[in-house]
Amino acid sequence: MELKEIKCSHCGHDNPPGTQLCQSCGKMINEDYDKKKIKDLMRYDGSAVRSKVRSQSIFDKIWNFFTSIKVGVSIIALIAISAAVGTILPQEYFIPIGADPLQHYTEQYGTFGRLYYELGFTQLYSSWWFVLLMGMLALSLVAASIDRGVPLYKSLKNQRVKKHASFFKRQRLFTEYDSADIAPELAKSFEAKKYKLRTDGNHYLFEKGRLSRWGPYINHTGLIILLIGSMLRFFPGVYIDEIIYAQEGETVSIPTTEGKYYMRNDGFTLDTYDEESGTVFDQSLQNNQAMTISNFQTDITMFENKTADIVGSSPELEEIEDYSIRVNHPYRFDDYELYQSSYDNSQMKSMTFRLEDSEGNVLGENFEVSLDDPADSYEITEDITINMKAYSPDFLEIDENGTLISATPVPTNPAFVFEVAAGDKNELSLLQIMNSTDITPENEYSIKFVEAEEHMASVLTLKKDLAMPIIATGFVIFLIGLFIGSYINHRRIWINAEDGTMNLAAHTNKNYFGMKKEMDAVLKSHNLHEVFDKQAKEENDKLKG
């Protein structure tokens, strides 16, 4: 059977096949349409059914698929489930810096961890399928909103005051009165309740809270804005979350500023609470095995690069500002924020040695060797100088030609060849942290390890998020929509005061109890009996059995 367009008998508008209510004037075309339904009869007035009738192009098919409530709910459910699964293991930005994620997850959590990583759960919000789900959610929101919102808007805009008697009977709140004389008085009372009144002869339509119907669409708009905001985070330069590692005294370039900004770590401070301060907290502070830290702080100096930056060339820096970064007190510049994240003192900075003679007497001052940039010689006394002949930061072996070979450039296992030059006598010895070997025979002097000092480095987090205002706006709009949809009731009352009787029917999109109460109060003030609630009666009957 070929589907034909349906001409509205009332206004003459051509409606697509399958239309139940006229798209133009809202008149019911299919009289059987809402016979079986009472409860949510007018939730969508114009209804979305038209989009499900005949598919033409691939775009229509896609569109119809995404307008389905079932599909929309499934997408939301999938997003919720993935987000929940994403909390089972820590996300990738919580694993140790520099660790290989695949290796880390496999070692820590076995096959499950590996699978978890392979499926992209370790970086949930940027895994391709999660982004895809978000896109599908966006399409579902837009399609459903347009498909339902447009007909709803039209049907509410074009609603007629005059309704057929059968319409009155179908409403949940419906009552008949013997006299029609009271109608104008009643109208005034309802207007006093902030109802807007429209009349058509002896027909009255009272309406308030229509805004309630737009709640879901405002809500959807907020979500779309929110999704746009989170999408922008993937765009270059919009969202930055980087780690800056700076040793005390070190000047580093601030990543992503393309060499425009530099910062110097002027010192890291770690304060602890005083356990004997005489306050009520002393006891609990002493109970805590470790020290209780009161402050992490990095003092920084910010610089701006004034030269055109060629990579590698030493920049001409101009000091901008000094600041003390503490936890929750980031340094702000441009759109960036620098947060105190952690500190690191695992890198060795220097080692101190002393020189002893064969009888164990300490000679001269102790000498300190910088592991990053060691000096060539150290003056011990007027007669004795120690020369550093070789140094390896991470000692591996001695080469054929006598040089020390390092496994890595990081000073984790330093080894030195020192030459003690006393007058015309030279002695050589190899020193490792736990071990020292005489190279020349029968050495008179020995060099002993005294102490090591570590680098104190601050770890800062650099953040920038230009999408945040958009996301926040979207979220606020979302909440406003939710509020409007939940707390405002769209109430309509129809009165037909023809032929000496008065029919009264009412509809609301939520809270029939509240509406009945409001109406009953008005009716009572005019000495009219209460409005009849069809459904309440049905439920009472059910309860009575």
């Binding site: 798209q23 192009s57 775009f59 229509d60 896609i62 569109w63 940027s126 391709w128 982004v131 895809l132 896109g135 966006a138 399409l139 837009v142 399609a143 347009i146 447009v150 999408m231 993937f234 765009f235 270059p236 580093v252 370039s253 060629i310 990579v311 590698g312 060339s313 990053d372 940039d373 060691p374 060539d376 550093m388 070789a390 140094y391 390896s392 930061p393 991470d394 080469d399 030609n401 006598g402 040089t403 020390l404 070979i405 390092s406 496994a407 890595t408 450039p409």
Partner: protein, 176 residues
């Protein structure tokens, strides 16, 4: 809604969302570390050499091909390939230059390393103290060698030890 309007809205919405989704996925899945590859334009840099001179890539590529060799004192293949590079270099280097970029080590270590080699190195050793050049070129393993032609384009790259044949091949590429 008119049929035409409806079609435009539907098609427009679907295409817009699909395009934005595609763009987002592209930006997301694109390799974050932009490794320098053959065919890329070489990033210009200016470094100080061990002898205290300033060396700038773009100045040299004006009339010479350039071979950049990133190395470290602790790297064994570097120790083996550098004397051979020096031998080739001394056969004549009128039309090309070798720059050996040391990755962030101190002078003591570099001098100790050089004095331990079987040859005295005649080509310039550039000092990338804060790794800025190493980062700009996104160098992974050491040694990594890159050939750059006179147009300032990366023409060859190798991330392991060079044989003598490799060195000649790099020179040839840089002169093309």
């Amino acid at each position: 809604m008119k049929k035409g309007t409806r079609k435009i809205i539907r098609t427009g919405t679907i295409i817009t969302i699909a395009a934005l989704l595609g763009l987002t996925l592209y930006l997301n899945l694109r390799d974050g570390s932009q490794t320098v590859n053959v065919g890329d334009e070489a990033v210009d840099f200016k470094l100080e050499t061990l002898d205290g001179e300033q060396i700038q890539l773009s100045e040299i590529t004006k009339d010479k091909g350039v071979i950049i060799n990133f190395w470290g004192t602790w790297c064994k293949p570097c120790r083996e390939e550098m004397p051979e590079m020096n031998q080739v270099y001394n056969e004549g280097h009128e039309d090309y230059e070798i720059i050996a970029v040391n990755v962030s080590e101190n002078n003591q270590q570099i001098e100790q390393f050089i004095s331990g080699l079987s040859e005295d190195l005649d080509y310039p050793i550039a000092l990338d103290t804060n790794r800025s050049v190493t980062k700009a070129y996104n160098i992974g393993p050491l040694p990594t060698t890159i050939a750059i032609n006179k147009d300032g384009e990366v023409v060859k790259k190798q991330e392991y030890q060079l044989t003598k044949e490799d060195i000649y091949a790099f020179i040839d590429e840089s002169l093309e």
